[in-house]
């Protein structure tokens, strides 16, 4: 031994043959699948390209985005209201919030959509007035007020409100109780504390699952075809029922759903950064840092 301190030791790295084999296998299977689709004589690629940018399809895609954004907005407002109700000291408000979440989470969304679509059968007219008296300010046929789009938005919003209420509640609970105490000690009211101190901190916990909800909502709008809302899926399946190119139009619809979910998930990282303000020590604000760091082999 010439070098007693082992400064020239040769290290043989551990080989990971299965990493290579499994990767190669998956690439092969994936490649074969894509090739089978592209080369299949049973898929008419011209039809796909013909309808991809068809005006009716684009309009339907826009309607899908509008339905998503409107239902998500109403759903989120409902969620905050019901989350706060559930956390309130009032037992009646609490019970109502529990019932609401239980009911709308516990029944299939499809069922709820059909229900709102058929509401006109149970209540032929809609009235606004004082219950159990003859005072009526407003009365109208249900079918005129509750168009299929309105019914769809109501169904999606109420359902979303129930799911998101639990997300918002978890976010509020994640904020340290000391924050509320400090706010109280400074003379802040409970509403002010919720708005300025608790919710901004809860957002950090709320946003990632809400991103999930947003994407889930975008896809759930396709269920509205059962109440004949001409959103993307309804439109493409209507076209395919005429030209019998079912698979081609599924590809068209799938393409636009992918585009929309991809584009609509971009704001999430912006929001995460904004509400993450103050939660990272200086210099480590880049959220990709942790993801990009290589796991040492």
């Amino acid at each position: 031994m010439s070098d007693q301190r082992h400064t020239n030791d040769v290290v043989v790295k551990l080989k990971h043959p299965w990493r290579w084999i499994s990767a190669a296998l998956l690439v092969l299977i994936g490649g074969a699948f894509v090739y089978s689709l592209v080369s299949s004589p049973n898929i008419n690629h011209d039809i796909i390209f013909k309808y991809l940018f068809n005006g009716k399809v684009i309009d339907a895609a826009i309607l899908t985005v509008v339905l998503t954004i409107v239902s998500m907005t109403i759903g989120t407002i409902l969620a905050v209201i019901f989350a706060v109700m559930r956390l309130s000291a009032n037992p009646i408000l609490k019970a109502i919030a529990v019932l609401y979440v239980g009911f709308f989470r516990g029944t299939p969304l499809l069922l709820q959509i059909v229900f709102w679509g058929y509401l006109g059968i149970i209540y032929p007219t809609i009235q606004l007035g004082i219950p159990f008296t003859d005072v009526v300010w407003f009365s109208e046929k249900t079918s005129l007020v509750l168009t299929s789009i309105t019914a769809g938005i109501i169904a999606l919003s109420l359902n979303e409100g129930a799911y998101a209420a639990e997300i918002v509640r978890a976010g509020i609970l994640s904020v340290d109780a000391g924050q509320t105490e400090a706010a109280k000690s400074l003379g802040m009211s409970s509403g002010y504390t919720l708005r300025r101190i608790v919710l901004p901190q809860a957002m950090r916990v709320i946003i990632p699952p809400m991103g999930n909800e947003f994407i889930s909502m975008l896809k759930s709008t396709s269920l509205l075809q059962v109440v004949s809302v001409m959103e993307l899926y309804a439109r493409t399946s209507q076209i395919s029922s005429q030209n019998l190119a079912q698979v081609e139009l599924l590809v068209v619809a799938g393409f636009w759903y992918l585009v929309m979910t991809t584009v609509l998930s971009w704001p999430q990282s912006y929001l995460e950064k904004r509400y993450g303000r103050g939660f990272q020590p200086s210099g480590s604000g880049n959220r990709w840092f942790g993801l990009n760091r290589k796991v040492s082999a």
Binding site: A182, K184, S185, L186, M188, Y192, Q201, Y275, G278, S282
Partner: protein, 253 residues
Amino acid sequence: MTNMIEAIGVRKHFGSNQVLKGIDLTVSRGEVLCLLGPSGSGKSTFLRCINHLEIIDGGRLYVDGSLMGFEEHGGKLHEMKLSAIAKQRADIGMVFQRFNLFPHLTALENIIEAPVGVRGVSKSEAVARAKDLLEQVGLSDKADHFPAQLSGGQQQRVAIARALAMEPKLMLFDEPTSALDPELVGDVLDVMRKLAESGMTMIVVTHEIGFAREVADRVVFMDGGVVVEQGSPAQVIDNPQNERTKAFINSVL
């Protein structure tokens, strides 16, 4: 002139656990009072009762001549509206063991939040005052730092500045240095010492016997939910009469 605080037979229990068993205590204006006692003696609970973070079950607690959290008329005590309680609290500053700064706001934003949002002070005025306060606590250069970027001692000094921004008539300190690394305690105590010299009425729950001896006008020793002994630091710390006080002072010195 009335006393700043008058506690008469203040009682508080959590479930079957009687935490305060009738506290009688007066604090006059400008007085610095240190509350000593073993953990579980009720000193923090008493402090939290003063600004109604805990609601007392019996007795009466007056702050600056008015009953805390209740109104008396028709021979009965009526619970106050939450907005009225918030108003009472706004005049009482509190500093917590774990700082409780708002982590999503910078040091400066922490300080101006309540003056602007609760008192309706203009933002420019609040900012000017906040910068002034940051200078007083020796943190002028940290205005734009978030709490997570500050050391514990710096956070606690921002928390003191935040409480002072409401121009309170009384400051409550709940073990303000207990969560700090030993080398950071001095800076916080310096700020509190200056505040005491400026004439602020202060009630300090602490284990810092040295601070109590040097700064306190009066030391109160609590144990088992009652005031066991009180007097000047020289009496209570250096020459305690009660056995429990003696045992406690010996254990912390």
